[in-house]
């Protein structure tokens, strides 16, 4: 094939597909190249055992931007969201369970069983989080300004945000500046006394990170996860893979070509004295040229493996080398012969949202302690969803799937390797699960453990980092992916980053892909 494209998108993760569809909608000739046989990457749905399908990574699309849904007309392409009345179930070791509902009054009532004081404070807390999240939400679809060469135009988009910040009033603004860099634990301690409540909330602060809730900046993670609303969640009907399918359909309808099983081996670099990306070479040796290349792969994989450090200035190379990936998120998928019974949850409706096994912030912090020293948690913190409650078709009739996200399973183990310890870690997760869902082991038909090493091998996530780089204070906004390169361009001319490694970061937002495409279009 010797066709020439306007743009090549490396990787058909959801961000790559958003970028492709957005570029195609603007009339660009786009080619998407995906190494795997399925679309969506870690925002996909895959059959793990015959008749059992499971979301490969992300299970929640609460942060997916409505502007993208509208612009790409994704509803027409089959995208449908579903919500559950229960937002979160937090089973406790004493056999009780705290359920947080979409209905605030019901939640307040529920919290009162644990702390009357906390119940009273909940509405004010929810209002503060909503206010701050509402403000921060505006930054998702804005490219951070280039601080080293401030141009008025870069800041234009930020003006309404600044205005809203100003309108917040002095006190609220100070409060926002105060709480964002805090440790989530300190923030939650300011509001609440109940360990059950704080533990349930605290899980949001450490998603995708190798950090405990006592870590500075984890409150930023907490707010990021709640940008769509406090504990808000939104499932994609039919499984997360349907989002990728809708995006692919939108892209194809606008003329984009999507090839699967077409792994990119390297980005072609030409030009003297100013080198630029001119296309890609596939693993099979085929070369395809394009005016611009967008990479949905993470920054290190893109700039080191696909481009090569020798094409980067040493100062830039250092920044890329220093990006903190440090994945600690493992996934355990269970196929069960029936719906498990969680202690304190007599009504199956309580199981419809997230289930968090984190009875206190300290249990998360202790789980993290092990990861600091290269060991997996003896008592991992678990976040569970049961997709078959909404989508029985994901498993044979009567059977259920449990999708367990387990922290912490550090990519770099001090002793041994993940190939040797994956099964043992799976047992550890089952032990914790059995503690809150007695009898679950007896109903288990299949068990799959996906370690950070598996994530790296399967999806190309450096060090198994599900967010393409930890979302700490030091790797956000103008610092994402590296200082000076937060506007989707890379140090290699005509190469753009369109994945979670770019602003605003990870999660199923579509924002990096959408923003990157717009950066290309505004060249």
């Amino acid at each position: 094939m010797n066709e020439h494209y306007d743009a090549i998108v490396i990787g058909a993760g959801h961000n790559g597909l958003v970028a492709a569809a957005t570029l195609a909608a603007a009339g660009r000739r786009v080619l998407v190249l995906e190494g795997r046989d399925t679309l969506g990457g870690v925002a996909g749905t895959e059959e793990v055992w015959p008749g059992y399908r499971v979301d490969s990574g992300a299970t929640d699309a609460a942060l997916f931007q409505d502007e993208i849904v509208r612009k790409l007309d994704l509803a027409r392409h089959g995208l449908k969201f579903e919500t559950s009345p229960a937002l979160l179930l937090a089973p406790q070791p004493d056999g009780r369970a705290l359920t947080l509902w979409r209905d605030e009054a019901r939640t307040v009532q529920e919290i009162a069983r644990f702390s009357a004081r906390d119940a009273e404070r909940w509405p004010a807390f929810a209002r503060q989080v909503a206010r701050m999240a509402g403000l921060l939400r505006g930054m998702l679809l804005l490219a951070p300004p280039d601080l080293s060469a401030l141009r008025g135009g870069d800041l234009m988009g930020w003006a309404p945000l600044a205005l809203r910040l100003k309108r917040l009033g002095g006190d609220d603004m100070m409060e926002l500046m105060r709480v964002l860099p805090m440790a989530a634990r300190d923030y939650l301690d300011e509001w609440f006394e109940s360990d059950a409540l704080k533990g349930a909330l605290g899980g949001s602060a450490v998603v995708g990170a190798t950090l405990g809730p006592r870590g500075a900046g984890t409150n930023l993670g907490f707010f990021y996860q709640n940008l769509g609303g406090l504990l808000e969640q939104r499932f994609v009907a039919g499984g997360m893979g349907r989002l990728a399918e809708a995006l692919a359909a939108a892209a194809r309808e606008r003329g984009a070509t999507i090839r699967t099983g077409a792994a990119v081996a390297r980005v072609l670099v030409e030009g003297d004295p100013e080198p630029a990306a001119v296309g890609v070479e596939l693993a099979g040796g085929e070369t395809i040229r394009a005016a611009v290349v967008l990479s949905n792969a993470d920054p290190r994989r893109t700039l080191f493996d696909l481009v090569g450090p020798q094409h980067l200035e040493p100062e830039t190379m250092r920044h890329v080398r220093n990006i903190i990936y440090r994945g600690s998120t493992a996934r355990v998928n269970l196929a069960l012969s029936g719906l498990p019974e969680f202690a304190g949850a007599s009504d199956p409706a309580q199981l419809g949202g997230r289930i968090r096994v984190s009875p206190s912030l300290d249990t998360i912090e202790r789980a993290y302690d092990a990861a600091k020293y290269g060991r997996y948690s003896e008592r991992p913190y678990l976040e569970i969803v049961i997709p078959t409650l909404r989508e029985p078709s994901l498993a044979p009739a009567g059977h259920h799937m449990l999708t367990i996200t387990a922290l912490y399973a550090p990519y770099a183990l001090r002793d041994g390797d993940w190939d040797g310890q994956s099964a043992a870690f799976g047992e550890t997760v089952l032990d914790v699960l059995e503690g809150v869902a007695p009898g679950v082991r007896a109903t288990m038909l299949h068990c799959q453990v996906v370690t950070p090493l598996d994530l790296e091998r399967r999806y190309g996530l450096t060090e198994g980092s599900i967010y393409h780089g930890q979302m700490g204070l030091d790797q956000m906004l103008v610092m994402r992916p590296i200082p000076g390169w937060s506007r989707y361009e890379t140090p290699l001319r005509n190469l753009y980053l369109c994945g979670a490694g770019a602003h605003p970061g990870g999660g199923v937002t579509g924002a990096p892909g959408y923003n990157a495409a717009r950066a290309v279009l505004s060249r």
Partner: protein, 400 residues
């Protein structure tokens, strides 16, 4: 506290001046005798032995060694023959000089680099992703410079296995002294006939003893930094942190210099493949450099007059000065400053007062006349000077 070099037992025994300098953390003799004059004349008339062990030394090895070195330095490594030594600067990505030193090609995939500052991290980072290893061998190699017209004769008596008649300027050879191996490079920092000798530290003292013993009838003298400094100004050789500021140490942009601006444009090969700083250097070559490296020769009679005005004889003979002085446009009403002289010295072999520095390019034509500031009795005065070619002193024996 500075550390002793591998030659310390020998240098300290003869350092009558007790004037030690701290050179990169090592004790280095400023001068051995009460005055450095005899040491200087040994460089020019017989042979001087200078302990240069404090230089930083790195080795680059492995299949991609040549690619790594070629990406670091501004000269073309693909043209460097085995056994050839390059003097070269290396730059940051903005084309500003980080450091300068020698690069010896010991084998196709084996290089030895000397530098004034630590550069290990830089070399490793430039080579990141290449199949090559950068090793800091600073402590594994003792180094002596033997400089002066009699240096070859001395080495011919002391070193076995090297035909010094065949060892050309900026080349190297491997030989033995008293049974232990050494590398000889025909290099130096004096602008004279001279060599540098590289040995394992355990052989350092024996090497010193052999050279001093056999060299005595050739007039060999240990020489310190002060004598070397006068010689290198005569040779028009720049010194880091004196004549230019490493871009890694510069506090403001204007302190940085490109190779073109410190007289090393000849060592830039922008036509070779990609290297660090190439784009910026190509652009600078295209549009011209802001600064030009110059040598100036002060008008001796005018200098005498400036001192005479204060009833003093010219107080300039002696040590080289590393204190920069401003240079002004001559005979201009507004006394516009057009640059600075960064090193200046009375050149004994030339009987002239000379300096090197940088002038704004439009003010730096060869033969041009400028005013250089001279302070006499705390009074700032201006001495007329002429822009002249460097090296000020360039004897045929240096290359012969």
């Amino acid at each position: 506290m500075p550390l002793p070099t591998p030659f310390h037992s020998r240098t300290s025994a003869v350092c009558d001046s007790y004037e030690w300098r701290n050179w990169s953390g090592y004790l280095s003799a400023g001068l051995y005798e009460p005055s450095h004059e005899r040491e200087y004349y040994a460089i020019r008339n017989s042979a001087a032995l200078i302990d240069v062990s404090p230089l930083y030394k790195y080795e680059v090895t492995g299949p991609d060694a040549a690619r790594l070195v070629d990406r670091v330095i501004t000269r073309d490594v693909t043209r460097q023959k085995i056994g050839q030594v390059y003097y070269t600067p290396w730059c940051d990505s903005a084309g500003k000089v980080i450091d300068d030193g020698t690069v010896s090609r010991l084998a196709a995939d084996h290089f030895r680099i000397t530098s004034a500052d630590p550069n290990g991290r830089w070399f490793q980072d430039v080579g990141y992703g290449l199949n090559a290893t950068v090793t800091n061998v600073s402590d594994d190699l003792a180094a002596l410079a033997l400089q002066g017209p009699r240096s070859r004769a001395i080495l011919e008596e002391v070193v076995d296995g090297i035909d010094f008649g065949q060892l050309n300027y900026f080349h190297l050879a491997q030989g033995t002294v008293d049974g232990f191996p050494l590398t000889v490079t025909r290099t130096g920092y004096t602008g004279d006939l001279g060599y540098e000798l590289w040995v394992r530290p355990e052989h350092a003292e024996r090497l010193w003893d052999c050279l001093m013993e056999r060299g005595s009838r050739h007039g060999i003298l240990p020489a310190g930094i002060l004598a070397l400094d006068v010689a290198r100004v005569e040779a028009g050789l720049v010194m880091i942190a004196v004549d230019y500021v490493s871009s890694h140490h510069a506090v403001i942009e204007s302190q940085k210099s490109s190779p073109y601006e410190i007289g090393l444009g000849w060592a830039v090969a922008p036509g070779k493949g990609d290297f660090i700083g190439r784009r910026a250097l190509l652009a600078e070559r295209e549009k011209g450099s802001a600064w030009t490296f110059v040598g100036v020769q002060y008008d001796w009679r005018a200098l005498e007059r400036l001192y005479a005005e204060e009833d003093l004889p010219p107080g300039v003979a002696g040590r080289a000065s590393r204190s920069a002085v401003p240079v002004y446009e001559q005979a201009s009403g507004n006394r516009a400053q057009i640059g600075h002289i960064t090193s200046h010295a009375f050149a004994p072999i030339l009987k002239q007062y000379v300096g090197i520095g940088q002038l704004l390019t439009p003010h730096a034509p060869m033969g041009g006349r400028v005013d250089v500031e001279v302070t006499v009795e705390f009074k700032r005065k201006l001495c007329p000077a002429t822009i002249v070619p460097t090296p000020f002193f360039d004897p045929p024996r240096k290359r012969g």
